[in-house]
């Protein structure tokens, strides 16, 4: 394990940016912190002082042109694969990338656009010093396992970060840093332990979330279908593909979409298999806690708590899913 004093973060990022494009949460002063390529001289917000939006906005941009047509030909707009380093996403967000990998990269038709940003991306994941009130990482998985999703785990000990390299790439990128002594290592472990809530019984959760439970009606009554839970989520991956005309041809782009929107499943004929707020609320919960575990053995929710904080009507996913289920 290595040590990075907070005063050295700027220098570390400067060094890193010589070989990799650095992506980190930054803010323009007024708004929430957003993941962006860090401009020279810009200081990322990795001290937990501000609400950080999920890194999904970088891995899966809100607007991405898939291809254009020009002179009767299709021009592929797949971005070049570059070397990136993503710093300051939460450990839960790093785990959310594992969920993304299942969706976008598994199977015989991997997504080249996502892959271009993911293939050579060193992940520096953060375990914040202060556990926000909304965080429930430990309810959705084994947080110690999530370390495998990172190149380096950064434990925030207040005035410094303990840096734990998890891969050769991570070790290489942190080799210039000083070593951490045993007391720091112990402090880092103790910090992570605060997020760990024991083993999670995925099956029991799935069984509790019954499809035909009358409770769904009550849960969805106050929902205003704004979809902010899905836009704020680091593991929500649903998107829309649309066309627009442009000078000399057309473009097909993809943009974010949400299962909470009325037109998400609305068919051309006017028929909608999920016609109201209740089936849509249910779909979000079941997709994460039941369908995705059935599909690839992983709960789709990572417990980052963003939906809990962002929801304008205070719907708390933890209360719907129910208490922690330990084996």
């Amino acid at each position: 394990m290595k040590l990075l004093p907070k005063s050295g973060v700027a220098g570390f990022i400067k060094e890193l940016s010589k070989t990799r494009e650095v992506v980190a949460p930054v803010s323009d002063g007024e708004s929430y912190a957003v993941f962006k390529s860090v401009a020279p001289g810009e200081t990322p917000i990795i001290d937990g002082s501000r609400f950080i939006l999920s890194p999904r906005s970088w891995f899966m941009p809100g607007y991405e042109v898939l291809f254009e047509t020009k002179d009767g030909e299709i021009v592929d707009k797949t971005p070049e694969t570059k070397a990136y380093a993503t710093i300051g996403l939460y450990l839960a967000d790093a785990h959310a990338l594992e969920v993304f990998d299942r969706v976008f990269l598994d199977g015989d038709k991997p997504d080249p656009y996502y892959n271009a940003r993911r293939a050579d991306n060193a992940i520096f994941a953060l375990v914040p010093a202060k556990k926000r009130w909304s965080v429930f990482w430990g309810m959705t998985g084994n947080v110690c396992d999530w370390k495998k999703a990172c190149d380096v785990v950064m434990y925030d000990l207040g005035s410094e970060f303990v840096m734990e390299p998890m891969t050769d790439r991570g070790a290489e990128l942190t080799k210039s840093l000083a070593d951490a002594d045993d007391s720091k290592k112990a402090a880092a472990d103790a910090l992570l332990a605060r997020y760990d809530e024991g083993e999670v019984d995925v099956k029991a959760i799935g069984e509790r979330l019954m499809w035909d439970n009358p409770k769904w009606e009550e849960v969805s009554r106050k929902c205003v279908a704004c979809g902010v839970c899905t836009y704020g989520c680091p593991s929500c991956s649903c998107f829309d593909m649309r066309d627009d005309l442009k000078c000399g041809g057309a473009e097909r782009y993809r943009c974010l979409d949400s299962c909470q929107h009325a037109d998400f499943t609305l068919m051309g004929s006017g028929y909608n298999p999920r016609p109201g707020r209740m089936p849509r609320t249910r779909q979000r919960l079941l997709h994460k806690f039941k369908y995705q575990p059935e599909q690839f053995g992983m709960i789709g929710c990572v417990g980052c708590g963003r939906c809990v904080e962002l929801c304008p009507v205070g719907i708390d996913i933890r209360k719907i899913v129910g208490g922690k289920e330990t084996k």
């Binding site: 323009d28 007024e30 708004s31 929430y32 957003v34 002082s49 501000r50 609400f51 939006l53 906005s57 809100g62 607007y63 926000r132 009130w133 909304s134 009554r221 106050k222 205003v224 279908a225 704004c226 979809g227 902010v228 836009y231 704020g232 829309d240 649309r242 627009d244 782009y253 943009c255 974010l256 949400s258 929107h261 009325a262 037109d263 809990v308 904080e309 962002l310 304008p312 009507v313 205070g314 719907i315 708390d316 933890r318 209360k319």
Partner: protein, 285 residues
């Protein structure tokens, strides 16, 4: 205050004044409350009133048929929303029992979480509360409590005219077109929003500054004389775009030109005509 509110809510149900009371209940954290629907007197014991009661509950009125008897807890700004709905004939005054609550401002839960306190201050207040124009509930069958306004009013926050284009281009570039601002608005109740129409396609879903500009500009136009400034749109925005600034600017024009404040009139602004109304562009001089 919470006790008085509960008592009143119980009375309303007991005497059959309404079938349900829409209010706030405790949320998952001290700075978070959640909309709550009370159907029985026991339910009423879960109602609360405090500075975390940020939701504008008028939003839920249009979810139910006009005939349903509903009691609604409102802050002054929410009460103005109810008045807009009444003026536009979306709800019937006689079927809505309005429990008004005197309010000196509420907190923004995310700001409060960042600050680590739910004490109401200029730093934790919902931004719209710093611009609040509503002293008391305009429409109310009863008003509970008294409030003192301690927040420092925010001044003019729209950038100077020459800088606006640049300012809004940057802000709209953030927009992901989730339409949460529209969804949460109590007075955005169109069955099909122009932005969702595919034929004719008024605006593309493409979340670029230009297209998003179109969406927000049309929304503000549609809200002219109707936006009461409750600031829910701004609070819900997952990208923290200050969309309320536009509506506030529009409200200023509406006030200057027509001497009308949204939620304060018996008739909707765009549904009335006076001889002295400003008509530049309608009649050429």
């Amino acid at each position: 205050m919470t006790d008085k509110l509960r008592e009143e809510a119980k009375r309303v149900l007991r005497e059959g004044i309404a079938e349900m009371v829409i209010g706030w209940a405790e949320g998952s954290a001290e700075f978070k409350t959640t909309p709550f629907f009370a159907f029985t007197e026991e339910d009423c014991d879960r109602l609360v009133w405090n500075t975390a009661c940020v939701n504008n509950l008028a939003k839920y009125l249009t979810d139910y048929p006009k005939e349903k008897k509903i009691a609604l807890c409102v802050k002054p700004c929410d009460s103005a929303s109810v008045n807009v709905l009444i003026a536009e004939n979306k709800v019937l005054r006689e079927n809505i029992y309005v429990i008004g609550l005197a309010c000196g401002g509420v907190i923004d839960p995310i700001k409060a979480a960042d600050a680590g306190t739910c004490e109401l201050s200029d730093a934790t207040a919902k931004y719209a509360c710093l611009h609040c124009v509503h002293d008391k509930p305009e429409v109310a069958d009863i008003v509970l409590g008294e409030a003192e306004r301690k927040l420092t009013p925010a001044g003019e926050d729209m950038p100077p005219f020459e800088e606006r284009r640049k300012y809004w281009e940057k802000e709209f570039d953030k927009c992901v077109r989730c339409y949460a601002c529209r969804q949460v608005c109590p007075n955005c109740y169109c069955e099909q929003c122009f932005a969702d129409r595919t034929d004719p396609k008024w605006t593309s879903r493409k979340p670029t500054a230009g297209e998003s500009w179109m969406f927000h500009a049309v929304r503000v136009m549609h809200m002219a004389g109707r936006c009461v400034g409750c600031g829910e749109c701004e609070r819900v925005c997952p990208k923290s775009i200050p969309v309320e600034k536009l509506s506030r600017e529009m409200a200023k024009y509406v006030k200057d030109i027509y001497d009308y404040t949204a939620g304060m009139g018996e008739k909707p602004l765009l549904g009335t005509y006076k001889d002295e109304d400003y008509d530049a562009g309608v009649h050429e001089e």
